[in-house]
């Protein structure tokens, strides 16, 4: 019955669930709000399953397409569809939403309904970002998701949350506004269309391409985030509640990277080739410099935030190598980073809930007090460092291989991450988990309960599964990547 509108369901089920959760009102009904939120998140995941089962991996054409009239006056359509690039991201997002709802189960005691609703609504909007094939529709979802995230950071965040929330919002808005002007320009260049696929075929002069390249680069580069426009991320991560950090790292950063594949590369191929050195340079700076910055962090969340920037540097590096291995490596890295960073932020959340500190120096000797937790944390730390057999290894390895094909030096510089990544992650792990207990409060820490084991266990399965057998993921994206690359190889100069 709903076969024709799976993507609409994927977008609107979480949003409507969020509205229902809001309707439960004050904190007196908090248990009800939690259960409805969980049901909504699970339902949102279930309606996304047909995207996998019904997905045709043999074509790069858009699938599950829906196209309805929306704003005929400006020729904007309610146009949805997914290919091998966006489908896994939708699934990742729906999956992470369930985890986030469970993660906030006991921790959040204040304005529970609003908290849960904000996450559900944001989840629907993010699915919209990945599914939209109309420029205006994309923009509406792209900007709309800022509102719940702004509230999540600002209402449930740490002491410096107001600064972080406003900085996050204005930073991302700056990029998107210039993108909006570019989109309007594209509308006139393409003869009055906001259709993204039409834009892919629009011829554009080099000057226009270059200017728009920088506008889009700012919009998506801020989201990724790329050096030097990354400074909002550590602030936002540190101040956000655990769920907010998870969504930020696992999903919102992917929105930026996704924008590269959907907008910058196919719409502006000539400028992308011309300016690839620039993006590669920024990516390598992110990988090396931000990796070193992560090394000296005293705050665990900040450390993981910086490590996210370094890992996303791999993604953008892979995209601008213009070969299939690089693109698929970048995409695998995106998904893998979604699992690993989510898991690490959940781990930090577990510790924070018990000790109310994120400082590395306040911990030490957790292995004896929380052995089960320590084991999970070990796995995710290794994945973050890129240990083979974890998902973190696959993406990095593919990108480094791709870089070798293009330029040996790129590969060499990028490969230093295997050293710095291991250094900052494992050094943090050592200081937090091993050694003797110096802080008396650590003595009193309980090991993780069933709810937390469930959360981390599910993510552990994902991380290991993807690390041992990544083929299902690459199969889904392979045809789309090859065809998109062929498109990007063609010049669009008039």
């Amino acid at each position: 019955m709903f076969g024709q509108s799976i993507l609409s369901l994927v977008i609107w089920v979480p949003i409507l669930a969020g509205v229902v959760v809001l309707a439960t009102g004050s904190d007196r009904n908090a248990p009800l709000a939690r259960w409805i939120a969980l049901a909504g998140a699970l339902l949102g995941l279930i309606v996304a399953f047909p995207l996998v089962s019904g997905f045709d991996t043999g074509t790069s054409a858009m699938q599950f397409v829906e196209k309805r009239e929306w704003i005929p006056v400006i020729n904007a359509f309610y146009h949805l569809g997914v290919d091998g690039i966006s489908m896994p991201l939708i699934l990742l997002n729906s999956f992470i939403t369930v985890l986030v709802v469970i993660a906030g189960w006991q921790v959040i005691q204040d304005k529970v309904a609003q908290y849960m609703a904000a996450f559900l609504i944001m989840s629907g909007l993010i699915n919209g970002v990945f599914a939209a094939l109309d420029g205006i529709l994309f923009y509406v979802f792209f900007e709309g998701m800022l509102i719940p995230l702004y509230l999540i950071i600002g209402v449930w965040g740490g002491p410096n949350r107001v600064y972080a929330a406003i900085k996050f919002f204005l930073y991302t808005l700056l990029g998107s506004l210039l993108m909006l002007v570019s989109m309007i320009y594209l509308y006139f260049q393409s003869g009055g269309s906001f259709d993204i696929q039409t834009w892919h075929a629009t011829t554009l002069g080099m000057t226009a391409q270059t200017l728009m390249f920088f506008a889009f680069l700012l919009a998506f580069g801020v989201k990724v985030p790329m050096w030097p426009v990354h400074t909002w991320l550590p602030d936002a991560h540190v101040e956000a509640p655990t769920g907010g950090s998870v969504v930020l790292a696992a999903i919102t950063l992917k929105v930026g990277a996704y924008g590269f594949l959907r907008f910058i590369l196919p719409i502006l191929p000539d400028a992308s080739h011309e300016l690839a050195w620039f993006v590669i340079m920024l990516s390598l700076i992110a990988v090396v410099y931000i990796g070193l910055v992560a090394l000296v962090q005293a705050d665990m969340k900040k450390l993981i935030a910086y490590s996210s920037i370094a890992h996303m540097g791999f993604v953008t590096l892979g995209f601008f190598l213009f070969n299939p291995l690089g693109w698929e490596g970048g995409l695998v890295q995106m998904i893998s980073h979604g699992f690993v960073s989510a898991a690490l932020f959940l781990c930090i959340g577990v510790m924070y809930d018990r000790l109310h500190s994120r400082q590395i120096k306040d911990y030490g000797g957790l292995a004896s007090k929380m052995p089960v937790f320590a084991a999970f944390f070990m796995l995710f730390a290794m994945a973050n460092a890129g240990l083979p057999a974890t998902s973190g290894f696959v993406g990095e390895f593919m990108v480094i291989m791709a870089a070798t094909q293009v330029n040996f030096w790129y590969a060499l510089i990028a490969a230093t991450t295997l050293i710095t990544g291991a250094a900052y992650t494992l050094w943090m792990y050592k200081r937090v988990v091993f050694g003797s207990v110096t802080n008396p409060k650590v003595e009193a820490m309980r090991d993780i309960g069933a709810r937390e084991i469930l959360l981390l266990g599910v993510l552990a399965v994902c991380v290991l599964g993807m690390g041992l057998y990544p083929k299902p993921f690459t199969d889904v994206m392979h045809v789309s990547v090859i065809d998109l690359l062929a498109h990007v190889a063609q010049s669009k100069l008039p």
Binding site: I74, I136, L146, I147, Y150, G154, V162, L173, I184, F188
Partner: protein, 481 residues
Amino acid sequence: MRDSLIQFAPALPEIFVLAMVSLILVIDAAVDDGKRTIAYVLSLVTLAGAAFLTVRDFSTMPVLALGGLFIDDPLADVLKLFLYLTVAAVLVYSRDYLRERGLYKGEFFVLSLFALLGMMVMVSASHFLTLYLGLELLSLSLYAMVALQRDSSMATEAAMKYFVLGALASGMLLYGMSMVYGVTGSLALGDMAQMLSDGTDLRIPLVFGIVFIVAGVAFKLGAVPFHMWVPDVYHGAPTAMTLFIGSAPKIAAFAFAVRILGQGLESQVAEWRDMLVILAVLSMAVGNIAAIAQSNLKRMFAYSTISHMGFMLLGILAGSQSGYGSAMFYVLVYALMSLGGFGMILLLSRAGFEADQLDDFRGLNRRSPWLAFLMLLLMFSMAGIPPAVGFYAKLAVLQAVVEIGYVWLAVVAVLLSLVGAFYYLRIVKLMYFDAPHDTAPIVASPDARLIMSANGLAILALGILPQPLMAICVHAIGASF
């Protein structure tokens, strides 16, 4: 003049409003203070009746009447319907506020309706005389409304400022009109356009005339550098009057600008476009930057109005039908947002307390999550963040500007709107992130709450489905030009 009676028919809504105002004036003089509700109900009846007449005689094409002084076209009819709606919302929002401050008198209703009549004449004018007549009827009513709170020195001062500067602007406008008249020999917009499209040797007097007219229009819109009155008047006037001044007259001012520039001086677009570019950029810059420094919400909204009018001018300066359509959409959306913003101040105010400081919004989410949510929608709409309708208003004017090749102007506009986003976000921050200052329960009448909810939800609903309102604007402009 055989068919002189029929010639009055297009002006039936105006005639009806005039008759009703006179009736209310007489009735109100006869009843004592306890029965002021009669005037309130009669005013709403007047609005409903005028709306009925406008809808019944809705014109599908322009009809000139009263010897070419008056035009009844789809643009005028649509704008009039929105004027009725706006004024009705103002009346409902301000009832409790006026009652608590001893301003709940017949004068308020009579002046509101006279102002409405002035605006109706303005949107239906096809002649310099009627344009000016409507403008003065509106302005004089507004001056008196601001001064209505006689014992408030701030309100009196604001009224004086408003009057003096307003008279100056009217003088400039008249001077410009007389110069254009000297060049074209006609006061009727249609004849003028005809004459000018054939070309004229009198370039210099014509350009001078246009400069003065643009200055007059800019004053009425509150565009920089003719904006000095806006913050003082918005701040000084009782909030109910600010609500009135900040909403409906902007719709009329839009019509005023489009009638003169777009219809009368259509062929001179090259002359006035550059002037409007300067006005628009300055308004967006000064409005958005000065708003950050304000601690009084009414003043902040005043500066935000200035920036919004700058945005609206972007649509007009495009000088195309799509440009006018986008400006019309912008001004209608703006009126809706402005109603909500000032309406919220009225709703949170109570006897002896004005909720017009930014601090009064602290922790509103704890006091009333619903009102906070509505205010959130209003703020994001003003900032131009989707899915609120304000985004589409900005999108439409930016589109109009890019269409004429002024991409740089669109870039300047979005960068300045980024500055603007900051102070709107600050309101959201106060409401959601901070603890309440003021813990008194919010007392508001159910009808005001209802209008507020409808107003806020309209922002969201139009943001999800903007097509109907956008199409109305495009068609109204298309059928009137």
